[in-house]
């Protein structure tokens, strides 16, 4: 029997075009990502090459005076500030988000979801400059009038960020809760557990990794947010002595300084080094999310 002659059929061409197009897009994406990482890394490292700044000076130094007569580039106050606002924001937002998600999926799945879902999606769509301005016009004066200090500071930044990351955490948590198999709940109820017992002993423990994923994603957003935080945090390059004192984050220092410094100057390079730190932190967050997803075996 003769082997059948290979014929090029229409679906082969379609397949080929489709695959080529996809591969092209993927390759382009990879090239863009790799070149961005390379760009930030190469600019960020230049601070430490040939200069007098060592990595530990940069990461743990507490004196930031890039334009001083003897410039010093200690970025620790900013790293500390970034972590402080991010953790505080997550602490404020997580319980609220979890309650909102439970409300939408367990308590009142009907109108609760219909009402809350759009509201939360709306929160996610508000531009960060609006958050910043609301923070500056509402939260800062409120804090100034009710608490010690000038209202500006880590507390104001954390409050603004908490509202900003609320939608992220809520929607991830709500998705996780909704995907929980019905029979788990039903067995719990069948055993005589109350709604509170079911939620606290069955639902939350089972969806815990997914909820944590939402929180980490929210923290990643908070860590990278620049504009809104910069408007309310005060931007003094110091580790704050209280939550109501002017402080800085990595992002706020970068946005304040980037436009006013010339490419290649030591100050500018130091800002790129901070961008590198931010990028590495993003990798850590992504890694954490992956780790949590692996544990997530619903």
């Amino acid at each position: 029997m003769k082997p059948k002659k290979a014929r090029i059929e229409k679906h082969h061409i379609e397949d080929f075009i489709g695959r080529t197009y996809m591969s092209f897009c993927v390759a382009l994406l990879i090239i863009i990502i790799v070149s961005m990482v390379y760009f930030v890394a190469s600019k960020g490292i230049s601070t430490f090459i040939g200069g007098d700044v060592t990595v530990s000076d940069f990461l743990f130094g507490t004196k930031w005076s890039p334009e001083g007569d003897t410039p010093s580039f200690g970025a620790f106050p900013f790293i500390a500030g970034s972590f402080l606002v991010t953790l505080l924001a997550a602490l404020i937002a997580s319980p609220l988000s979890l309650c909102a998600a439970l409300f939408m999926t367990e308590i009142v799945p009907g109108w609760g979801k219909k009402l809350l879902q759009p509201v939360i999606e709306l929160l996610a769509g508000i531009p960060s400059v609006v958050y910043g301005f609301i923070g500056l016009s509402v939260i800062v004066p409120f804090l100034r009038n009710t608490l010690p200090g000038q209202g500006i500071g880590v507390a104001a930044g954390a409050l603004v960020l908490a509202v900003m990351i609320l939608p992220t955490i809520t929607s991830v948590a709500a998705d996780a809760l909704a995907s929980l198999p019905q029979n788990l709940k039903e067995s719990s109820f069948a055993l005589g557990a109350t709604r509170w017992q079911t939620i606290s002993r069955v639902i939350i423990p089972t969806t815990f990794p997914a909820i944590m994923t939402g929180i980490v994603l929210g923290m990643a957003r908070a860590f990278g947010e620049a504009l809104a935080v910069q408007m309310v945090i005060g931007n003094a390059p110091f580790i704050p002595r209280s939550l109501f004192e002017s402080a800085s984050t990595l992002t706020s220092v970068i946005t304040l300084g980037m436009g006013n410094t010339t490419m290649g100057s030591a100050h500018n390079n130091a800002l790129w080094s901070m961008a590198l730190v931010l990028m590495l932190m993003t990798f850590v967050f992504v890694f954490l999310v992956r780790l949590l997803e692996r544990r997530n075996k619903i």
Binding site: S23, E67, V140, A236, P237, F238, G259
Partner: protein, 320 residues
């Protein structure tokens, strides 16, 4: 096997495409700029004598956000009378403007400070290649929250306040109230001007001080925060803040022009080397009386042409 081949092929294809795209872009940009130059030269060459020569080409300016509104407004008017010219004005900050004009990415780099102050050390050569065009003057006044209770401060008192030595208004003759510094970031041109000409010294940031990067926010914060002190360009001043005299001199336009009030700086528009015809015409238009006494004053700047004193990079003031 086939899959792998496709992959290799597409990857190769992509990189070639990407590379050629980059090449094209650069070529494209250069071509446009060159075209602008040659076009302008070509159209102008035959009509050199006529002042109403048809200009064409595109001008890209970037840099100082403090100068941006003025450049934009003047550019609009210039484009109205010169239909062949396209001017784009971008912000980005003085540092960005100087970097980009030094690397010839833009035709004009707008800056609040002398190029020599930003392009230092290894970059000093770049600064030397730039040609300065001083189009306006901005004066900066110290301002406080209305309840601070002072109307004038001496240089020494300002230094004491901004270095954190004096922390209560009653130490400088004001109310018994804590001083809250509202500063600009250390890279800001406004801060550099205020420090060189009002304080006479660079200051370290003080713990607890607030830094904001736009004059609008600074004004809002000073107006709202009890005991606040900061500094603003004259065009931002109004009743929500208290404007201070400096060593007894009122920061008025007249005092700046006559040189009595020292806290001012030029707004610069830098070109890389001598500008081409189109750019030169635009910069010349900036210095005409129409713009200097019109748009410049209207937007709250002080006309550079009316200044009775001039100042060089080192800060030496000479009477014209």
């Amino acid at each position: 096997m086939q899959f792998k081949k496709t992959w290799v092929m597409t990857l190769a294809l992509t990189s070639v495409l990407a590379l050629s795209a980059c090449g094209n872009n650069n070529g494209g940009n250069n071509a446009t700029t060159n075209n602008g130059g040659t076009n302008a030269a070509a159209t102008n060459a035959p009509t050199e004598t006529s002042s109403g020569a048809e200009l064409s080409g595109s001008i890209l300016a970037s840099g100082s956000t403090a100068l941006q509104p003025l450049v934009e407004q003047v550019a609009e008017k210039f484009m109205d009378t010169n239909a062949g010219v396209d001017i784009q004005v971008q912000g980005g900050g003085s540092g960005t403007g100087l970097t980009q004009v030094a690397e010839k990415q833009v035709d004009i780099g707008n800056s609040d400070v002398f190029a020599e102050e930003k392009l230092k050390d290894a970059d000093a050569e770049k600064a030397a290649a730039l040609v300065d065009h001083q189009v306006a003057v901005v004066a900066i006044a110290a301002v406080t929250h209305p309840d601070a209770g002072v109307t004038t401060l001496t240089k020494q008192q300002l230094v004491d306040i901004f270095t954190g030595k004096v922390t209560n208004w009653n130490e400088v003759g004001g109310a018994d109230q804590k001083i809250q510094i509202i500063n600009r970031p250390s890279s800001s041109g406004t801060r550099a001007t205020f420090e060189s000409f009002a304080l006479g010294t660079k200051t370290e940031d003080v713990q607890g001080s607030i830094q904001e990067d736009s004059s609008g926010t600074v004004k809002k914060m000073i107006g709202e925060t009890p005991g606040a002190i900061g500094y603003l360009g004259l065009s931002y001043l109004d009743d929500s803040v208290k404007t201070l005299s400096y060593d007894g001199v009122d920061p008025s336009v007249d005092n700046v022009i006559s040189g009595k009030y020292p806290v001012w700086a030029y707004e610069h528009m830098y070109t890389n080397g001598e500008p081409n015809e189109t750019v030169k015409a635009f910069l010349d238009y900036f210095l005409t009386d129409e713009v200097q006494t019109g748009d410049v004053v209207e937007l709250g700047y002080i006309p550079a042409s009316q200044m009775q004193v001039s100042r060089d990079v080192a800060g030496t003031v000479t009477t014209k």
